[in-house]
Assembly symmetry: C2
Homo-oligomer: 342 residues x 2
């Protein structure tokens, strides 16, 4: 077989605000690969199937080491969680047909010199492979571990989940409902609000047309806040918090493109209200929760008890646009790029 | 005996910035009391000995119910923790010569209709009564309970204590040293920095002449932050925090007179660093820690293991000035007003 195109999404320039496809990220289709004959030197060749698109990728588009994950390197492909299928292998631990999962670079084909950075993925629950970068993967793990570790949820309490229709938020919503809480959740479009209803949110609202502050006041305040947003919404939640409320800080999408927006004014409330604010860094929680997560969550998805909404973009060449959509809230469900069907 | 003056400190006007003695608080000496003959109607008469002056009193000088403790009432005396001695009693649970402790109003003599709002205070450790509004009272309890509940201190870690020479801060410093931590602490004058050295602070500094940010960077960051200050200092501490640092929010004196200064910019750090921020509301922790606190702390003071520094103001008529001094950092040690010696 002749060499085939090996498309890549390159980090080309540090964005000032939102990333600009074709400028800050560039899709490069000049490379080719001879899939059948390329030397593996003891490694294995993976065909990438699906890549995850997440807001925090914006944080890696920097030159400095300011973020918690290393910045992307200029001139090289960006990377994120993904799943691929092994085409050929010279490694005895890996065989053709195996699926692998891990943080991988945005390319159609990758040669791994050894089994490092990715792991063999089994799929006993027989759910779509793409779910393993969503609710069955890092975003779902974030929800699962963060909720179990920090929520101290008690039946009858009220939780507010911002970005409730996203993969992390929607999973939190469903875990909270399973624990018997009243759930208030926000999303940025009426279609997303419909999804919030489908997953059992008691008080779903569109934050673009309804004031978060008004809703939280009207509903009598909150005991738990799952924050994907930061900024003014975090301030409103501090204002509406009950005594001894628990705040789980998972993301602050408000500030990713404008650091001034990280500023909050109501932090003083934590003292009189004895609020606890916990930063949810999934990499620190994963060791404690991975085994039970893998045992429970794919099975809950397969049985339909945990609902999943996926926003699929077909083709690696559109990954740059998919990232902008995630940052501007245009996606409806967990954003994934389908690089190849199988 | 003829009636004697019964001076009172009246809340006269809501301050805009700092309170103004003679304007926002007014000392009123027009009332008299006939100590020997005033009818008690089954209650008891207390001569006030000492009153505590604390920064949070500024927060009570409001019309709204925005703060966690009720606002002072205009035209009535302000109140705070104090100790008094019983002169006469018609209550069988209280006898002349007993000392009582509680939140009491700023007057020289008070008739209590029943034993409510104050409690009989014993003093087995035989320390000065004034200490019971300081390190042996609410401020010390704040340090003791907050430290035990939230610090998760491990030997060899580093803690930063802002306002380290105040009664809360100095007690935290000494508890941290007992737990084997390296202690960085700030104060607002060279005299206070000397006191920080006396109580064992490893890195004492004057925040008015030395940059907090520079010190925290130079010392390699922090694992625990005991915050009495808020604002920019809290931002600097977030910047210097290690992964999984614990922040104990006890006060934000920076913002008490200017709410814009509560704003912080580095809150995002809690996510990548998995920081936990806990609001320390002593009233919620007291039930859990009161017994051990009373058993341990007065004895530690008596033996000299816990050092106490007191800033005494003689005479209730100067209480308004004492409050301004506390808010502007002019006090050197726990501020108390000595209303009467015995």
């Amino acid at each position: 077989m002749a060499p085939v195109k090996n498309g890549r999404l390159i980090f080309n320039e540090v964005p000032e605000g939102y990333p600009v496809p074709g400028k800050t990220t560039v899709y490069d289709d000049t490379q080719t690969i001879d899939v059948e004959n390329v030397p593996l030197n003891g490694g294995f060749l993976v065909k990438v199937l699906v890549l995850s698109i997440d807001p925090y990728m914006r944080g890696r588009m920097k030159l400095s080491e300011g973020s918690y994950i290393n910045s992307f390197k200029l001139g090289e492909p960006v990377s994120n969680f993904g799943v691929g299928v092994v085409l050929r292998s010279e490694n005895s631990d890996v065989k053709a047909g195996d699926h692998v999962y891990g943080v991988i670079s945005f390319e159609e084909y990758i040669i791994f010199p050894k089994l490092e950075g990715v792991e063999i993925l089994t799929n006993d629950a027989n759910i779509p492979w793409s779910y393993y970068v969503g609710v069955a993967g890092m975003p779902g793990m974030t929800s699962y571990a963060g909720w179990k570790e920090f929520s101290k949820a008690k039946k009858g309490e009220t939780v507010f989940v911002s970005t409730g229709a996203g993969p992390v938020g929607a999973t939190v919503v469903q875990l909270a409902k399973r624990d018997g809480l009243k759930v208030i959740a926000s999303a940025g479009s009426d279609a997303k609000v419909e999804f919030l209803k489908e997953i059992g949110v008691d008080v779903p609202f569109n934050y673009k047309t309804t004031s978060t502050k008004d809703i939280l006041t009207k509903e009598g305040g909150i005991d738990v806040y799952w924050d994907n947003v930061g900024g003014e919404v975090l301030d409103a939640a501090l204002d509406a918090a009950h005594t001894q409320a628990r705040f789980i800080e998972c993301g602050m999408i408000t500030g990713y493109n404008d650091s001034e927006k990280f500023a909050i004014k109501n932090i003083f409330s934590v003292i009189p209200k004895a609020i606890t604010i916990s930063g949810c860094a999934v990499y620190l929680l994963a060791p404690k929760y991975t085994a039970e997560f893998r045992r429970e969550v794919p099975a809950l998805i397969a049985s339909g008890e945990l609902k999943v909404l996926e926003h699929r973009t077909e083709g690696l060449e559109k990954a740059g646009h998919a990232l902008v959509d995630v940052l501007t809230g245009k996606n409806h469900g967990k954003s994934v790029v389908i690089v190849a069907d199988s």
